[in-house]
C-alpha cells in the first residue's frame, strides 16, 4: 500500500470532521438523554452505566445515524434496546398485572370525600403529592408501561417517535400510555394515602 491520494486524504479529513461533529452533538444532548435514562431504570448507578454503554455504542456506530434526523431519538433507541437486553438478562420475575382506575380516580381520592361541595384549587390538591412519591410511583410501573410514559411524558416525544424508538406500533404506544398513566395515578394515590397514615 502506498501513500493515500489527495482525494483519499480529503475524504479521511471530511470523515473525521463529521465524526467529531456527531460526537459533539451527541454529548450536548447527554443531559436530556440522561433524564429519560434515569427514569427508565431504578437507580442512578444503573442509569449511569446505561448512559456509558449507550454512548460507547453510539460513538462506534455513528455512521448509521442519518444526519438531519432526530439524534436524541436515535440515542434513545440505542439506550432502550440496551435496557431491554439488561432487563432480560436480569430475568425479573413476572410481574403481577397492575391495578388501574379511571382517569378521575387520583383527583377524587386526593380531594377527599368533601369532593366538589367544597371547591378546592387544583394546586392545593396536587400539594398532597410529594416529589419522592412521584419518583417512587414511576419506578414501580412495569417496564412496558414505564418506557412509554417516560418517553412521552418526561422525554416529550410524540406517539410516533416513541413508537420508532421502542420499535412497537403507534397503537401499542397509545394503549400502554393510557394504561400506564392510569396505573401511575393509582400508585400516586396509594403513596399519598401512605403519607397520611
Amino acid at each position: 500500500m502506498g501513500e493515500p491520494s489527495p482525494t483519499e486524504t480529503r475524504q479521511l479529513a471530511d470523515d473525521a470532521r463529521a465524526r467529531v461533529r456527531f460526537e459533539e452533538e451527541a454529548l450536548e444532548l447527554a443531559d436530556q438523554v440522561y433524564q429519560v435514562a434515569r427514569r427508565l431504570v431504578g437507580s442512578r448507578e444503573e442509569a449511569e452505566d446505561l448512559m456509558q454503554d449507550t454512548y460507547a455504542r453510539a460513538f462506534r456506530s455513528w455512521r448509521s445515524f442519518q444526519p438531519g434526523t432526530n439524534l436524541r431519538a436515535w440515542l434513545l433507541r440505542i439506550l432502550t434496546n440496551l435496557n431491554i437486553d439488561r432487563a432480560r438478562a436480569r430475568q425479573r420475575r413476572p410481574q403481577t398485572e397492575p391495578l388501574e382506575e379511571g382517569d378521575y380516580f387520583l383527583y377524587n381520592r386526593l380531594a377527599g370525600s368533601g369532593g366538589d361541595q367544597q371547591p378546592e384549587e387544583e394546586e392545593r390538591v396536587l400539594a398532597r403529592l410529594s416529589q419522592d412519591g412521584v419518583v417512587a410511583a414511576l419506578s414501580e410501573l412495569p417496564h412496558d408501561f414505564r418506557d412509554v410514559v417516560v418517553l412521552v411524558d418526561i422525554g416529550g416525544f410524540a406517539y410516533a417517535e416513541a413508537a420508532q424508538i421502542l420499535d412497537i406500533p403507534v397503537g401499542t404506544v397509545m394503549s400502554r400510555l393510557h394504561r400506564g398513566r392510569r396505573i401511575l395515578k393509582r400508585q400516586l394515590a396509594e403513596e399519598a394515602s401512605d403519607d397520611v397514615s
Binding site: 454529548l27 433524564q35 449511569e48 460507547a56 382517569d103 387544583e122 416529589q131 414511576l138 398513566r181
Partner: protein, 81 residues
C-alpha cells in the same frame, strides 16, 4: 364507534376523553363533544385542570441533574483524534 356510544353518562364519556384530549389526539368531532361538555360541567372541568397540573408536576418532580463526572466519562469515550 364514538365515545358517546360507549358510555351513557356524559361525565364517564368525558373521563375517557381526558388523555387523548390533552394529547391532542381526538378527532374534531370528539374534541367538540368534549368541549361542549366541559363548558357546562364544573366537575369534569376541575379534573381536566388537575390533569394538566399533574402532568406538569410529574415532569418537574423527576428532574435529576446528571453528575458532572458522568459527562466527563462520556466525553472520554470519544474516538481519539
Amino acid at each position: 364507534m364514538t365515545f358517546r356510544e360507549l358510555h351513557d353518562d356524559p361525565c364517564d364519556n368525558c373521563e375517557e376523553m381526558l388523555q387523548p384530549y390533552l394529547d391532542r389526539e381526538l378527532t374534531t368531532m370528539e374534541r367538540a363533544e368534549a368541549e361542549a361538555h366541559l363548558d357546562t360541567c364544573e366537575y369534569c372541568r376541575r379534573r381536566y385542570r388537575f390533569e394538566v397540573e399533574l402532568r406538569r408536576y410529574v415532569r418537574q418532580a423527576v428532574v435529576e441533574p446528571m453528575a458532572p463526572e458522568l459527562k466527563e466519562r462520556l466525553s472520554s469515550l470519544r474516538t481519539p483524534l
